[in-house]
């Protein structure tokens, strides 16, 4: 085939494709509409995104200024980094809920105000409103007081000696420093270390086999972080340990706020059952 024919064909193709089609105006309108839609979506994205970013930045700044940022970071780190403790807790028969679930949970509110000081010295008084309630059902500690009475937590005796222990009124108002702690150092750790204190107390409670040391550790945590993330759990676990040690009156005093629902229903029925059993 000669080149001329190919050129003729090319010319034919050129001529056939020349000229503005009738739909040219429609194409123009579609293009402008498409660009307009694209701009509108971009503006909407900015209108939503910028306020959200501002709220986030403002919240973070406020948290930093008020000192809560460290605690929030601490809680998040605890959730992320403590799966093994969650496993421990899952197997434990007694109270406190696992670490990870607790740290980010929000308290069901607050029909329960801050528990008041009971007239009885043995009653539990707490310094602040229950910060968090995680209503979880768990079997109560099966056998209270199968252990001889141990030394009071707040006594000066370093070890719990059952024979020495009078049933002294137990002040579980945790502002009083506990006796010298073999296992928990008495210092004022920074905020992030309070979580470590709780973890230590928890380990002593479930793995340590030393209820007295565990109580002292809980006391330490509650003294340094009365409104801490796990303060409620610490109080409940402490009450169980008192029960285990045979400190019935102290245990009942410690369990009463829970039974009365002052912690938003957390362990309420369990606490009541334990009080009924201990009162017999």
């Amino acid at each position: 085939m000669s080149d001329d024919l190919l050129k003729t064909a090319a010319r034919a193709l050129r001529e056939e494709s020349t000229g503005e089609p009738p739909i040219g105006d429609r194409t123009r309108a579609r293009i402008l509409h498409g660009l307009h839609e694209r701009r509108r979506k971009r503006r909407t994205g900015f209108a939503l995104g910028i306020p959200l970013a501002a709220v986030f930045a403002g919240s973070t700044a406020w948290a930093g200024a008020s000192g809560k940022l460290g605690r929030w970071v601490d809680e998040i780190v605890a959730v992320v980094s403590a799966p093994e403790e969650g496993a421990e807790l899952a197997t434990a028969s007694t109270a406190s809920t696992p670490f990870p679930a607790k740290s980010l949970s929000t308290p069901p509110q607050a029909s329960s105000p801050e528990p008041s000081e009971a007239p009885d010295q043995e009653s539990t008084s707490v310094d602040e409103a229950p910060e968090r309630v995680v209503p979880e059902a768990a079997p109560p500690e099966p056998r209270p007081a199968s252990v001889p009475v141990a030394a009071p937590r707040h006594s000066d005796a370093p070890s719990s000696t059952s024979t020495d222990r009078a049933k002294a009124p137990v002040r579980v108002n945790d502002v009083t420093p506990s006796a010298k702690d073999d296992e928990v150092e008495d210092e004022a750790p920074p905020e992030l270390d309070t979580l470590a204190l709780y973890r230590k107390a928890h380990r002593l409670h479930f793995d340590g086999g030393d209820p007295g040391a565990a109580i002292r550790a809980y006391d330490k945590y509650l003294r340094l972080a009365p409104g801490g993330t796990f303060a409620t759990e610490a109080r409940y676990n402490r009450a169980l340990l008192l029960l285990r040690l045979g400190e019935r009156s102290a245990a009942i005093a410690a369990l009463t706020p829970f039974a009365e629902g002052r912690y938003g229903g957390y362990r309420q029925s369990d606490a009541q059952a334990l009080i009924d059993a201990a009162s017999k």
Binding site: L5, A9, L13, S17, R28
Partner: protein
């Protein structure tokens, strides 16, 4: 075929300034600039799209896509060519799936055709018949173009159908001039063979 490479045609100073202003407006994201660009360049872009794609509807879609993509694409315009050339290059970059789609449709139509294409040869005749023959020849060539690789197809359409210089075509495509000539050479060879198979003498 030897491709003569004339010097690129430059516009007047006023036209260049006007084009530069349009570029700046496009790069600034002015909505009216796109409308002005469409009014200025849709004709050449549409013509190129039709010749390249061979399908009016697909060509119109390609035109739409080119001007929708132009606000972003114009950011990389460096002024080393005319804006019209740049817009055609955007069309080349976006043409791939339109060409393939149109070729597939034509292939499907051909499979359903009851009669093979008849041999056509342009001859001097009365106008309507001449137009019909021209259309038929254009259609045959479009089908033959479907068998070419895209780069050869683009090269043939730019250089042979639109009669652009190899330099301009190379600028549009972003390839060296020698490469463009090579592609045109191979495209023409294959098209001759294809047209011969179709019975065009």
């Amino acid at each position: 075929m030897s491709l003569r490479v004339p010097l690129p045609v430059t516009g007047t100073r006023a036209a260049l300034d006007e084009e530069q202003l349009l570029v700046e407006r496009l790069q600034a994201g002015e909505a009216s600039a796109i409308a002005d660009a469409y009014d200025a360049f849709s004709g050449p872009v549409r013509a190129f799209a039709k010749r390249l794609v061979g399908d009016d509807a697909a060509a119109e879609d390609l035109v739409q896509e080119v001007f929708l993509a132009l606000p972003r694409a114009v950011r990389r315009f460096r002024g080393d060519s005319r804006l019209r050339t740049f817009v055609i290059s955007v069309a080349v970059n976006h043409a791939k799936h339109f060409v393939r789609g149109a070729a597939r449709r034509r292939a499907a139509v051909d499979r359903m055709a009851e009669e093979p294409l008849e041999s056509i040869a342009p001859r001097a005749s009365a106008c309507p018949e001449h137009h019909a023959e021209r259309r038929q020849l254009a259609s045959v060539l479009t089908r033959a173009l479907d068998d070419l690789p895209l780069d050869q197809r683009v090269a043939f359409v730019l250089c042979e159908v639109e009669e652009r210089t190899a330099r301009e075509a190379a600028t549009i495509v972003g390839s060296p001039e020698a490469t463009m000539r090579t592609r045109v050479f191979h495209a023409k060879r294959k098209l001759r063979e294809a047209l011969a198979r179709e019975g065009v003498r």
